[in-house]
């Protein structure tokens, strides 16, 4: 599904990813963990096509296709979804209309008919119940005046509606209380399918108690320094990241 080979990325003068490689197969859930500043969010943003980053070398193949050659909107239509660490407020643009335009863009790309207003609303309301989002949400602007938890739940709602093939969730667990974390985890689990890959970018392992990953990778100083099964996350929780930092520098 996703193959990242020796990716080197910088922003401004600062090199952030220093030769990152990663393979994610269909149906798998991978967790990327690492200390602050290790490059986790950069990886997520680069995969979604954020234009501010400079790609120096390396390759990213998504379903065999050169992902880095596509503009962000085409990546989204091809089935790549980024759940933002800090979802953006867009006053004046209605939530539901954005969701409808996004879904229709994806459906058009897949060659299936657009949903009519009635079908669309039924779908959204169904997913809103799952995410425990209030109906008042329908008339609000994108993320405007939402609490941190509401914004994250809105990201997962979009994930549920858009049904991407590769979901990258950037610190979706940060800033959530335990109840909201469970709702978000429930939403993520509901999207697990054999033909879908999920990349969870997270600082803590508490989300991984609810969304059990197939693989855990530790990202330090722009490289993946350790990969393992879910027990690696528990080791990190116990020992912190310091014992791995040196490996990152040596690697």
């Amino acid at each position: 599904m996703l193959s990242i080979q020796n990716l080197v990325v910088s922003i401004g003068d600062r090199r952030i990813l220093k030769g990152l490689s990663l393979e994610v197969g269909a149906g798998e859930v991978h967790a990327i963990m690492g200390p602050n500043g290790s490059g986790k969010s950069t990886l997520a943003q680069v995969l979604a096509g954020r234009p501010e980053y400079t790609i120096h070398s390396g390759k990213v193949l998504y379903k065999g296709q050169d992902l880095l050659a596509l503009p962000p909107e085409e990546r989204a239509r091809a089935g790549v979804f980024l759940g933002f660490q800090y979802p953006v407020e867009i006053p004046g643009v209605n939530n539901v209309y954005l969701l409808k335009a996004a879904l229709n863009a994806v459906r058009k790309h897949r060659g299936i008919a657009e949903l009519d207003a009635f079908e669309f609303l039924a779908l959204v309301k169904d997913k809103m119940r799952l995410m425990q989002i209030d109906e008042a949400f329908l008339s609000r602007a994108v993320n405007e005046g939402f609490s941190g938890g509401e914004k994250k739940r809105n990201e997962i709602l979009q994930l549920l509606v858009l049904e991407p093939e590769l979901a990258i969730l950037d610190e979706t667990d940060s800033g959530l209380d335990i109840d909201a974390l469970k709702i978000v985890a429930h939403g993520v689990n509901a999207t697990r399918r054999p033909d879908r890959a999920i990349l969870l970018v997270t600082h803590y392992q508490r989300l991984l108690e609810h969304v059990v990953p197939d693989r855990v990778h530790v990202l330090t100083d722009g490289r993946i320094v350790r990969s393992g099964d879910r027990t690696l996350a528990l080791d990190l929780e116990r020992q912190g990241y310091d014992w791995l930092r040196d490996e990152g520098r040596r690697a």
Binding site: E52, E73, R75, P91, G92, V93
Partner: protein
């Protein structure tokens, strides 16, 4: 014709012999016209040396000639772009003359008297004397020119209650080139009057046009007037506009100035808050693209205590467009307890686009609350990326964010049909407007 006159002033000379109409052919009307004309000629056209005119490349205005429209009755067909508003009384003026065929029957209302200026001055000829603008500040020049050549216009008087919606339409046809029209509006609201008036300037057909409009407004004694001015002129039209409003005790005048068309549109707005607890509001929207040039010059004067003013202007500038907003709030020494807020935001969509904002505040006493803020920027890259990451087309994402930029202003408009029209015009200057329509 005297030697050495610019073609523009020569046009004034020629038109003088041709003019006849609303202000009447009686001797008082002739005197009013002559006075206005003489004062205009003496003052001359503004030049770049005038402080308030320095931004405007007058684009050969002095060298341009114009003619009055022929006196034959203009064709009575409704042009594209006319708004449909249920329950509104519509008065239509084509090339400066009243057109009964395009106008609606006037809705009978015990509080509202709507008439043409021809009817007004026939009924009350003594009002003619006050038709000449009173002072000689630079910005009254175009008001004088209007007074010299206005053929007709609309008069609205509201007293003691709420008026039905009023829709005043001024159509400039392009049957001959360089045709000049002089739309004119007079509004009087008093004794608890409430009124919403839509003033719409539009063009029909091709040919360059010179539109010189004047609005004179008095709102007094616990009344409120909302004036929505919609400028949807064709891309070859130039409009020079003057608005003067006097606001009395416990009264509010709100101007919604919506410049979404025209090559050059310049509006000089002068609002005096003369009565206790008077309020003035200006909501301005300027949307330019191509080489369009829009200017809004506003002066709001707090003359007495406990007066309120609010100015919100949004400009969207694309291509090589230019948008200028010059806003001055003056608080008199005695106007204690006054509150004033000015807020300006410019959105630049292209590297050749330019917006100039000059908020000014002249406060002559210490017991006031005045604020102003101005910002100029491009589309927010975070918002743009968020939309792109959801599969939204790049052009459409930009269109949506542009629309979102003006939405708070559109929400303040008192007439839905006007908001919708403006929203469509904003989206219409951008690609994928059919898609964007779903969002508005």
């Amino acid at each position: 014709m005297s030697a050495g006159l610019s073609p523009f002033l020569a046009s004034v000379e020629r038109a003088q012999t041709q003019a006849a109409g609303a202000l009447g052919t009686n001797s008082e009307a002739q005197r009013v016209r002559r006075t206005a004309r003489d004062r205009f000629v003496a003052a001359g056209l503004p030049s770049a040396r005038d402080e308030n005119w320095k931004y405007l490349i007058l684009r050969g205005l002095a060298r341009s000639e114009w003619v009055l429209p022929p006196s034959s009755a203009a064709e009575a067909r409704a042009p594209e772009g006319l708004l449909t508003m249920a329950g509104a009384t519509r008065l239509v003026f084509v090339d400066g003359r009243f057109n009964a065929g395009l106008s609606s029957p006037r809705i009978a209302s015990p509080v509202t008297r709507i008439e043409t200026l021809t009817e007004l001055y026939a009924r009350a000829p003594e009002l003619l004397a006050s038709a000449v603008p009173v002072d000689d500040r630079a910005d009254t020049r175009f008001a004088l020119l209007n007074t010299a050549f206005a053929m007709d216009g609309a008069s609205v008087e509201i007293e003691g209650g709420e008026s039905p919606l009023i829709y005043l339409v001024f159509i400039a046809t392009g049957s001959t080139s360089a045709q000049a029209t002089f739309p004119r509006i007079r509004i009087r609201a008093t004794r608890g009057a409430i009124s919403t008036i839509v003033e719409h300037h539009l063009a029909d057909g091709g040919g360059s046009r010179f539109v010189n409009s004047l609005a004179e407004i008095e709102v007094d004694d616990a009344s409120r007037v909302d004036l929505c001015r919609l400028h949807t002129l064709a891309a070859d039209a130039r409009q020079f506009d003057t608005l003067r409003a006097r606001v009395g005790a416990r009264s509010t005048f709100a101007l919604h100035s919506l410049m979404v068309g025209g090559d050059i549109v310049r509006s000089d707005v002068d609002v005096a808050l003369n009565g206790a607890a008077a309020a003035g509001q200006i909501n301005g929207l300027m949307v330019t693209a191509g080489t369009q040039h829009h200017e809004l010059h506003a002066e709001l004067r707090h003359a007495v205590p406990h007066t309120n003013s609010r100015t919100h202007v949004r400009a969207v500038v694309n291509d090589s467009g230019r948008s200028i907003c010059n806003s001055k709030v003056i608080v008199a020494p005695g106007a204690k307890g006054s509150v004033s807020e000015q807020n300006f935001r410019n959105l630049l969509l292209a590297s050749g686009a330019e917006a100039d904002t000059r908020p000014q505040l002249e406060i002559n006493n210490e017991d006031v609350k005045c604020s102003h803020g101005a910002s100029t920027g491009r589309l927010d890259p975070n918002m743009l990326f968020y939309l792109l990451s959801r599969g939204i087309d790049a052009a459409m994402a930009r269109g949506l964010l542009t629309y979102a930029f003006v939405i708070d202003l559109l929400k303040d408009l008192p007439v839905d049909e006007v908001s919708r029209t403006v929203a469509r015009r904003v989206a219409g200057t951008l690609p994928d407007r059919d898609l964007i329509k779903d969002f508005i």
